[in-house]
Symmetry: C4
């Protein structure tokens, strides 16, 4: 086991770049003289896709931050699983751009394809988080002193929920209507944001108590 400092620095770099690259898809519209305002309004869907993906990457960073606080170091296997997580993070701008493109130029079929792609990508991205929590559960030496077995098991449930619900969201978006899939994705991102907070609040409470006793 070696220090996780460089792992954190490398991961922070990737998160920072991904969250910033999203802005590159906010293109200045081509416009005829005097019609810049219309052009900007026509790009509305891009702005929506940008905002959703920014919050998504931000939530993933909060979760990643919370995980690394709970481990004491890294191993080659842990670093490799982390790379798989980053793979999922790095590709987010792509389904985002596809979604923005479908919202702007596509018909309902295209929107369905784009929503399913987004949900499918989000579903697959949950898998390495599951592997990570399972790995930490089976290697107790990696865990920081304040974290117990039970907390890791609870965490392990979250990516499984993500895998299933994002997948279901994609299926709904495909079979029923893209809008439903879009709403599902937004709900899931909020869920991940909220539970990451919940977990941490739990930990604080424990720490505070440990402090008092």
């Amino acid at each position: 086991m070696t220090d996780a400092g460089r792992l954190a620095a490398f991961s922070d770099g990737v998160f920072a770049i991904v969250i910033t690259l999203l802005v590159l898809d906010l293109r200045v519209p081509e416009f005829h003289e005097g019609e810049l305002a219309e052009g900007l309004l026509g790009e509305g869907p891009s702005y929506l896709a940008f905002a959703v993906s920014f919050i998504y990457v931000g939530v993933l960073w909060l979760n990643h931050h919370a995980v690394l606080q709970r481990v004491r170091g890294t191993t080659p296997a842990f670093s490799s699983i982390n790379l798989a997580i980053l793979f999922g993070v790095v590709i987010i701008p792509f389904p985002t751009a596809v979604l923005a493109s479908a919202l702007a130029d596509g018909n309902t079929d295209d929107l369905r394809v784009a929503v399913v792609l987004y949900a499918f990508a989000a579903s697959l991205m949950s898998a390495p988080w599951w592997v990570l929590f399972a790995y930490v559960r089976r290697h107790p030496a990696l865990r920081a002193d304040t974290v117990d077995q039970e907390q890791v098991r609870v965490q392990e449930a979250r990516p499984i929920v993500g895998l299933i619900l994002y997948g279901l969201t994609g299926v709904l978006g495909w079979l029923v209507t893209p809008l439903l899939g879009l709403i599902g994705v937004v709900v899931m991102i909020i869920f991940h944001g909220a539970t990451s907070q919940g977990l941490r609040h739990g930990l604080w409470w424990r720490r505070r108590n440990a402090h008092r006793s």
Copy 2:
């Protein structure tokens, strides 16, 4: 409360990328053989917009740097507010590109739209700074030992001033003339740069005195 190291690293990454991405809008002009010089001169407005936004992001980094020096750690809420601040930083290249585009290809109406967009974005970006200072004021445990309640309250006034004055700048740019809005934006950036310095000088003085006593 946990260590703010990764928060700083992630934020530094975002600032570094944004300030560097600005250069991507300095495109090499297409030119006919022998007319590169004319082409470059025609891109003048892009260079102006680039320089203003570089200084803007630089000033924001100096301010962010000053804030993180004054706190002892982070909480999930603090991290989330920080993400909202970074959201504002990340989008700067977009109104910058719109402004450059309007300066190069637009008429007065387009320029008005671009200036108002820039001022509006800058005004909204002030809001999470306000929330941040209010949060630090209400959670004294977060403050570093050298910082007192009064200093935070003074800081809280700055983003409110920004919110109002950037907004006013947008209104002036809309009602009177875009040029006035443009000047207003530049004045505001200088104001933020100067007061960030002022604050820190104040703190040094305190520290030096604390050192002597």
Copy 3:
């Protein structure tokens, strides 16, 4: 000899950006209404090239991480060799994009050129790693306490193997068939990933023993 902290931070930044920039080549296809799905499927080769290069850069990072753990500091010469290594890392997106382009739009001749370029670049990239290990071998003061002369000598063999085998892969891809070259590149990346792990496992074993005794 000075602390290698900034060297690691700078290198991590470069690795993080390169691995993230790869996604920029996953372009949203232009599509006629209702044909987004077909457009996405047509971009298949790009996705393959992206995945291979992501794993490649990830493996290089794991190797770089393993090297810096084994040294105690840096010298200007060490920093310069590191820059040469980063040069190799930074250019990876280029042969990747050429490969994706040849897979999508080229005939067998173009694919041959692209595979040879990829293998040639990978072969050349091995050279500064060789120089690095030779430098560390000749400057024992740089080595961390846990690393002995023998371990460095073993490491030195790996980039030489890479230089020769990537080169051979390029020759095979040229003389026989591009597909063979493509397979060779993938095999080599897996080899580098596996041996980086192997080396580190060896080190753990030593440390664990050292711990016990």
Copy 4:
């Protein structure tokens, strides 16, 4: 005076991004089936411009690294001067792209313009380094213990030499022939690389002696 850690991290981020962004100008040529090789060879000047700028940014990083090792902390003024230095670093991809463009598509007039722009930018970039060394000389408290007044004064001469010689290079490239300017730029970059090393060797020697006594 506050810790220079975040200043270093932010600067490293900017250097890492700039050095990596250079690769974005290595575009895959558009090609007819079977003509990829010809297309790639036609991009030769881009590769040259890329290599020169990579080495340039690398040398600047080595110099920046050497400066921050010699100071104990930062002040708002020092941070602001550092931002001016980074401004110079960030714009390097632009004259690089102009140069590549002129080499590929321009005539002698265009090349002259591009070389003068490159030399002019390099000349201006030297100015904030001069200001930085002068600032450190006048604020001895900032200096690390191992650095004396004389060493800083010697350093101060280097950016002045750069300012004058890069400027002269531009003038020669304009009046005589662009090729001379191009050679001058390459020579200057090598000079900066070599002297950055020389300075540090000097310091090591001092430290080693200090160690012995």
